[in-house]
Amino acid sequence: MQRPEPRQAADGARELDDLVQRVGRNRDREAFVRLYRHFAPRVKAYLLRLGADDGAAEETTQETMLSLWRRAESFDPTQAGAGTWVFTIARNRRIDLIRRERRPEPDNGQIELMADPAEPVDQTIAAGQRDSRVRAALETLPQAQAALIQMAYYEDLTQTAIADRTGLPLGTVKSRFRLAFARLKRALEGDPS
């Protein structure tokens, strides 16, 4: 795992956000090539980790980068940083092209009935801040918890499958996920302990 210094990482993340916006606003090919050089090798690594063969990983990486080009206009850095946004594109293209299923997405505009409009949910921290806090929290997770999170994201495994794979009792797997999420939640609420 590469672990850049936090400040550097935050500056790098902002730069990536800017590049996506340059593509979205100006169809800037130079910005796109820089995004490609950053993301394509990571997207391909992600697809290989999930078991794609080299050909499928290349093809899906190509399609992910094309989706980035086509959808850059809709990128909103207040909703998610570029890294998180590209992750969601790669995940969805994989479901679409490799698993050959559809990926239903929520309707974010549908807010009818929700309780108290005076308390907007999670507007308190900006997306960029959330991304860097999540990254920092992941880096401080105990190895046992971090390994399970990686399995869930990189090996398509459910908790039961993770229990089978690791030989851990299902209850242990569940409680490690709970601990990991509790720590993540504290980090997002700004309490680093």
């Binding site: 391909k44 890294g83 299923e101 239903p104 309707d107 549908q110 949910v121 993770i162």
Partner: protein, 202 residues
């Protein structure tokens, strides 16, 4: 988390996407789970991409993309992701009557023979006969509400039942209850929802 990681099968992903359309709180949590994916992607050791791939991508940038189908008209009961699968509004559904005030409509989702994905309508005040399940069952309320003896569920709420649960839901008396129900057949339901539900409720 399974939804964010992309490991859920399509029927469960549909149920979660529909729930997220009705629950901003869970949407914020789903965004956190996406951020976990983004951070993990960032931390991966890059691998070599074939050098010609960049040229291929650049050559395709100007390709014309078929325009997206216009979104279906909004429906008061079916949130957009579900509306797209049903293909029509709530008033146009060809319900199949099962008797005792209960009707169902099966959603066609390819390659998911291990799952039954259905809209179920229970007439106001009627009771679903006591039943267990071969596999786990998740139910998302879309209209009206029901009680299972322990909890009352209203629009946007998700109820889960595993095979050991034998339950007897009763529709609220005020109106018909419409739910999206995903029942897992041969496969044992497991995994992603444990932490997901725990986390979302926590």
């Amino acid at each position: 988390m399974g939804y964010a990681a992309g490991s859920l099968r399509e029927p469960h992903a549909l149920l979660i996407a529909t729930h997220l359309s009705l629950c901003p709180d869970c949407r914020a949590k789903a965004a956190e789970m996406d951020a976990v994916g983004g951070a993990l992607l960032d931390g991966l050791t890059p691998v070599e991409v074939a050098p010609e791939t960049l040229d291929q991508v650049m050559a395709r940038l100007d390709e014309l993309v078929p325009p997206k189908a216009p979104p279906m008209p909004a429906d008061p009961v079916l949130p957009a992701p579900l509306r797209a699968y049903v293909g029509r509004g709530i008033d146009g559904i060809a319900w199949k009557k099962l008797g005792r005030g209960i009707s169902e409509f099966r959603l066609p989702i390819p390659n998911t023979r291990d799952y039954a994905t259905r809209l179920v309508r229970i007439a106001a005040g009627r009771e679903v006969p006591s039943h267990g399940h071969d596999g786990d069952e998740l139910t998302l309320v879309l209209a009206g509400g029901f009680s299972d003896g322990e909890h009352n569920y209203r629009r946007g709420d998700v109820a889960g039942a595993d095979p050991t649960v034998s339950h007897r839901p009763v529709a609220d008396a005020d109106s018909d209850c419409v739910c999206l129900t995903v029942t897992e057949g041969k496969l044992r339901f497991s995994g992603p929802f444990g932490p997901l539900l725990t986390y979302f409720r926590g």
